[in-house]
Symmetry: C2
Subunit: 350 residues, 2 copies
């Protein structure tokens, strides 16, 4: 399963990505927050040995990265690319990860748990993401003694992950439900069904660009296929509601909708300084306008790529230099202007 | 003194226009609010006779308009063009005006006073405006018995106009002082010196597009040349302060300033609906940007013309139809887009 730019998955106008992560711990080691430099390193070596022993040389497709060997900017880039979690970064002195870019799989070591297997797919691809993560889990489990309890299932550092240790997340773009003021209702309803709605970077992160990450809160007492199937039901319903809201806006509030979308296009085409948050909001409007056929300045895929590229660390990497916030806001505006205007600077004396 | 588009007067980047109006009343008639249909008509005929008797056939250059013979839209267009006052409109059943478009002179009959002579010049032209209005006043005064008192001077319906009956106004564009938050201080200081600061259409009208009309409050106890000379001093000072503020913004806050100006350009280039007030604000930004050499999309003169054209009545006249507010906002956005983009619709599916 490749994640190339052309493979953006089903329902890609609403579903940005699908992610499965499995939490595992290894017998004989304390939970990561209790490990010292030596024991955390020993654990990393054990995981490395297990990865190297994957059948059919599959382990060769993984690169190994120790966070303390990375510059701060590189670490942040991996977080922005959702390859690793902010929690892995928080334990940067003792953590690392194995990464198979082609398959979109990362195996984080010494995050909150010893091992966090994650697979990420573009668009709405629960089965593909689950199959890939599950397969890696099985291969690792053959070489490492997972901490397991007959009553509680897989043991985890935090009880909210006990049982299957599995969290399945879908990142959704819901501009119409947001505009119509229906998001709070959706978040409440999802909560009652056992699903949490979070921002771009999980727990505690802000909602930006009308992007919402839905994931299961319950990991205990349900089989993995039940978790996946329930999340799928919820997401299918939300997709339908978002489509209905888009159609309603288009049919009944077209002037206001067009005006909003074109103003956002105007601001992105001309602004000299853009904060991350406001750029995400305007790009969200452009995505909505594009999906409704109101504008064709960029494709949905180009807008998705632009949303990724304007993140603080990715932007600095793109520009090849460290920048403070003021300079980032300027460069962000310039990058967007360039992409949207095709490099031209209209009506401008500079 | 012509008011053609090329003759925009000195300091035209800050001073929009200069206006002198002289209030006069005619002996033998009650003040206008006490006149009935017959007596107000009789007064109009008297003024007409006096205008026709101007030396060297100057009266031939005046057209006469009775407000009750105009459609509501036409009346409002004259107000938006500052040819007549809102107060003349309020007495539309019994009022009229003589208008010399070439010289920018109007003689309103049955406004608050029997006669209001007004001359308007583009840019900063106090002397020209005064000379023209004064000359018309002298010509009228030779044929009509003005109500005059040795103690109070020219008598007027409202005591605030007693004495000279002369009000001199300058319309200023002060975007930098507004942005820097110095406008309230300016209004207070002007008040202490006996000058009132009002919006686009005088008393009670809103400040729009950072346009401020400064005029003398005192008409009694000062000679006309003193009124004019004091207003000139105040305006010269404000012009200097505005220039200084623009330079300060350019030198010290250039990123923010450019960003603001270009965003306004972006919104005006793309919006599908624009209220009058917000369009004036964005056009004000474009004027500032143009005068600082940051953009060259339109000339200052084109922006001034656009500010006039987007007023509610002028806009309906331009489009050749009556429109409700929603439709006006759409047509306003389209007109501005057309003028700014040179008629092109960029990146647009329609």
């Amino acid at each position: 399963m490749s994640t190339s730019l052309t493979d953006i998955g089903p329902h890609h106008d609403i579903v940005i990505s699908t992610r499965v992560r499995i939490a595992r711990n290894v017998e004989g080691y304390s939970f990561p927050h209790k490990l010292n430099d030596d024991t955390s390193f020993a654990l990393m070596k054990d995981v490395q040995t297990a990865v190297k022993a994957f059948p059919e040389h599959q382990g060769d497709d993984y690169s190994f990265v120790r966070l303390k060997q990375l510059e701060s900017l590189e670490r942040q880039v991996y977080v922005e690319e959702h390859v690793i979690s902010p929690a892995l970064l928080a334990n940067a002195g003792r953590s690392g990860f194995f990464y198979n870019q082609t398959k979109g799989t990362s195996i984080m070591v010494n995050e909150e748990d010893h091992i966090r297997i994650q697979n990420m797919q573009q668009g709405f691809q629960l089965e593909a993401a689950w199959n890939e993560a599950d397969q890696v889990d099985n291969m690792l489990g053959k070489k490492l003694p997972y901490a397991f309890d007959d009553t509680f299932g897989y043991l985890t550092a935090c009880p909210t992950n006990l049982g299957t240790g599995t969290r399945v997340s879908i990142m959704l773009h819901l501009p119409a439900l947001t505009l119509m003021g229906h998001i709070d209702g959706f978040i409440q309803a999802a909560g009652q069904l056992g699903f949490a709605v979070r921002g771009l970077f999980g727990e505690g992160s802000e909602y930006m660009g009308n992007l919402y990450q839905v994931s299961n809160q319950i990991t205990l007492g349900l089989e993995e296929h039940e978790i996946i199937s329930r999340l799928e039901d919820v997401v299918v319903q939300v997709i339908q509601k978002e489509r209905l809201a888009r159609r309603n806006l288009f049919d009944n509030k077209k002037i206001g909708l067009e005006d909003r979308i074109f103003r956002s296009l105007g601001i992105l085409s001309y602004a000299r300084s853009l904060t991350w948050k406001e750029a995400m909001q305007y790009l969200s409007d452009l995505k909505l306008g594009t999906s409704l056929g109101l504008i064709s300045t960029c494709t949905l895929e180009e807008l998705r790529t632009l949303m990724e590229l304007i993140q603080p660390a990715k932007l600095q990497q793109h520009c090849g230099k460290l920048m403070d916030e003021t300079e980032r806001d300027r460069q962000r505006a310039e990058l967007i202007r360039c992409k949207i205007n095709g490099g031209g600077t209209q009506h401008v004396n500079e």
